[in-house]
């Protein structure tokens, strides 16, 4: 039995402990940061297949704040803590050369991790808002960490968009509180199914969902993402793209739609169409990019489109595909960003034109890039194929072949843009390829290699997680979403 508040206590405590002890000694923040994220990873793996409700302060559910652990939270916890451990491992060496002040970096990083852990565990609307804001503020600051002009500009854009989103959410929470007189998510859901549906609830629903969709960067709300994600330091880009848009955006949208407001055909259509639009739009813009990290950031929008399409289908198979794609995307997208980070670390540029023939000099990084590119574009043995395949299959089974067609088109365009990456950076040469510089390139250090290898191995073998679909890791998650509002109420409040 894992004590749920530990997921919040450990990162926050360490986030404030690190600046206190390590002002003088240089290696302390590295060690403490990595130990913390490692402990969190172990704890999150221990929550597998557990399900319970924790009452903070001993106050019972509708009155006190509750932390709810179920399949969906467990999946997100594992993703968050796995990727954050990889990112901290990577940043030990990466930060040494490019950035100063590791102390503040780890402090903000752990605040972000703690905020996200709190967001996925919280069973209370306002508490969810507070944790979301903690994670967002830390990520705003981390995007601007390098203090270059472009980073500040991206951070400001992210700040304005993110803050408008947060305020929409807060307004919607206030409306819901005024309507129902409760903040506990299960209690709100219980009251909402007992009163007639009116315009006020619809208004609150639209506000809260658009607020969280800004955080998850679906297409009408995507403007901040392609600026903010490339500007951050690479481990942070991996966190932002791999975890933050999922924990703060997708998770909350799914949770609110399925467990609070109830899933209706109208919502399903909206989710599917937004998903398809962002799937195609993101990948079309990505093909045009020459900046490596910016290309990856556009792909994040596109892949989030897949996730939303799969979940919007509403069938168990579609939900399985969407959530499995969410898991896979966090693996291969963070791997791609870490690769981009190590390439940038060695070459000092992100421009695809200036790279070339990296497979001779950086074999492991190149191989990891190859694996993750194949994963993201859905080539059979890798994990990306399985999840995309399930989404397409679910679309066809649900009687929507057009959606399946667009998903295939998006996948092909993804493959084309990644073959561009592989051609210009790794196996071929860019136009402004510089021979003298190329001679000096060498493979990055061991600590940067380790997360790349771990994530590549996971990318290859996580397709196996599908084995035993009915009783495997994903079945509790699907049960949470399929059970809908009533089951969630029973679980949290006790029937």
């Amino acid at each position: 039995m894992v004590n749920l508040p530990l997921f919040i206590i450990i990162p926050f405590g360490m986030a404030f402990f690190i600046p206190m002890v390590s002002r003088k000694i240089k290696w302390v923040p590295d060690v403490l940061g990595n130990i913390t994220t490692f402990i969190l990873l172990i704890l999150s793996l221990m929550t597998l297949n557990l399900e319970y409700v924790y009452h903070i302060g001993g106050w019972k559910a509708p009155f006190g704040i509750v932390l709810v652990l179920d399949g969906l939270s467990c999946l997100l916890l594992i993703i968050i803590n796995l990727i954050s451990f990889m990112a901290t491992l990577f940043s030990v060496e990466y930060l040494e050369k490019l950035y100063t002040s590791k102390l503040r970096y780890y402090s903000l990083f752990l605040l972000m991790v703690g905020g996200m852990n709190g967001t996925v565990l919280s069973g209370d609307l306002f508490n969810l808002f507070v944790f979301m804001e903690i994670a967002s503020i830390a990520s705003y600051a981390l995007v601007a960490f390098g203090c270059q002009a472009s980073e500040l500009e991206a951070s400001f854009k992210y700040l304005v968009m993110g803050n408008v989103g947060s305020l929409l959410v807060l307004y919607a929470i206030a409306l819901l509180y005024g309507k129902t007189g409760s903040l506990n998510m299960a209690d709100v859901a219980k009251i909402l199914i007992n009163i007639p549906y009116d315009n006020l609830i619809a208004f609150a629903f639209v506000l809260i969902i658009s607020g969280f969709m800004i955080k998850s960067a679906l297409v009408p709300f995507h403007a901040w993402l392609p600026d903010a994600h490339p500007s951050a330091p690479s481990p942070i880009s991996a966190m932002l793209s791999g975890v933050v848009i999922k924990a703060l955006g997708v998770y909350v949208v799914i949770r609110l739609i399925f467990n609070l407001f109830g899933f209706t055909p109208l919502i399903s259509n909206v989710l599917i169409y937004m998903g398809v639009i962002s799937m195609i739009f993101g990948v079309c813009l990505a093909v045009l990019q020459w900046d490596l990290k910016r290309l990856l950031a556009y792909h994040s929008i596109s892949q989030m489109g897949y996730v939303f399409t799969g979940i919007g289908l509403g069938t168990p198979l579609g939900i399985l595909g969407g959530l499995f794609h969410l898991f896979n995307h966090s693996l291969f997208k963070s791997l791609l960003f870490l690769n981009a980070g190590s390439i940038e670390y060695e070459i000092g540029t992100r421009d695809l034109n200036k790279m070339g023939l990296l497979y001779k000099k950086m074999p492991i990084t190149s191989f990891a890039t190859f694996i993750s590119s194949m994963s993201i574009s859905g080539i059979p043995p890798f994990n990306g194929f399985w999840s995309k395949f399930i989404i397409i299959l679910a679309a066809i089974k649900a009687g929507r072949p057009i959606i399946a067609f667009w998903a295939v088109i998006g996948s092909i365009l993804t493959l084309s843009s990644f073959s561009k990456v592989l051609k210009y950076s790794i196996y071929g040469k860019g136009e402004k390829f510089n021979e003298e510089k190329w001679e000096k390139i060498k493979e990055v250090g061991d600590l940067m290699i380790v997360p790349l290898i771990i994530l590549s191995v996971l990318c290859i073998f996580s397709g196996l997680l599908l084995y035993g679909m009915t009783e495997g890791i994903f079945s509790p998650v699907i049960n949470v979403l399929n059970g809908g509002v009533v089951e969630y109420i029973n679980k949290v409040l006790g029937s």
Partner: protein
């Protein structure tokens, strides 16, 4: 004390008189937060207001010499850690995070300091945290103006920028 820095003599004298009382009022708001309107955050803001008043009256060099950014940062972290520690002690004593454990062992009458269990202690740590961090925000915003960049990544100070 450097007489040229800061505001006029009147402001300095009034500040010197008032600062203790404002600080005392902050302490009052923090400590009686569980019985009357107030609590950690308003009290902390009053704490920070004291230091901001001193900064405005005497200039930032005076305050930085007396307190220093490092001390403020340590206090900031210490407040947060104390708050977490109080919450975590709940797990140790009763098995529940954030449980009000003091009352269970020391039942007291009304209007004693601990009549609300751990709430006054939490208020004190929040007050420390808020006061230190607001002061930090103010100091950092007043210091950050000094550094300019001349386009090539070099840092130059305000005076050089003015000469250009």
């Amino acid at each position: 004390m450097n007489e040229e820095k800061g505001m006029s003599l009147i402001v300095k004298t009034v500040t010197r008189w008032l600062k203790g009382f404002i600080f005392l009022f902050g302490a009052y708001v923090v400590i009686f937060g569980h019985l009357s309107p107030g609590g950690g955050f308003p009290g902390g803001v009053v704490f920070a207001a004291t230091f901001i008043l001193i900064t405005l009256a005497f200039g930032k060099e005076y305050v930085l010499r007396k307190i220093g950014k490092i001390l403020a940062s340590e206090l900031d972290s210490l407040g947060a850690i104390l708050f977490l520690l109080l919450a975590t002690l709940g797990i140790y004593f009763t098995g529940i995070f954030f449980s009000n454990f003091i009352e269970k062992f020391h039942p007291t009458g009304n209007f004693k300091l601990f009549s609300a269990g751990i709430i006054p202690l939490c208020n004190i740590s929040i007050g420390m945290k808020v006061g230190a961090s607001l002061f930090m925000v103010f100091i950092i915003l007043s210091v950050v103006r000094v550094v300019f960049e001349d386009g090539k990544g070099k840092l130059i100070t305000t005076e050089k920028k003015d000469k250009k």
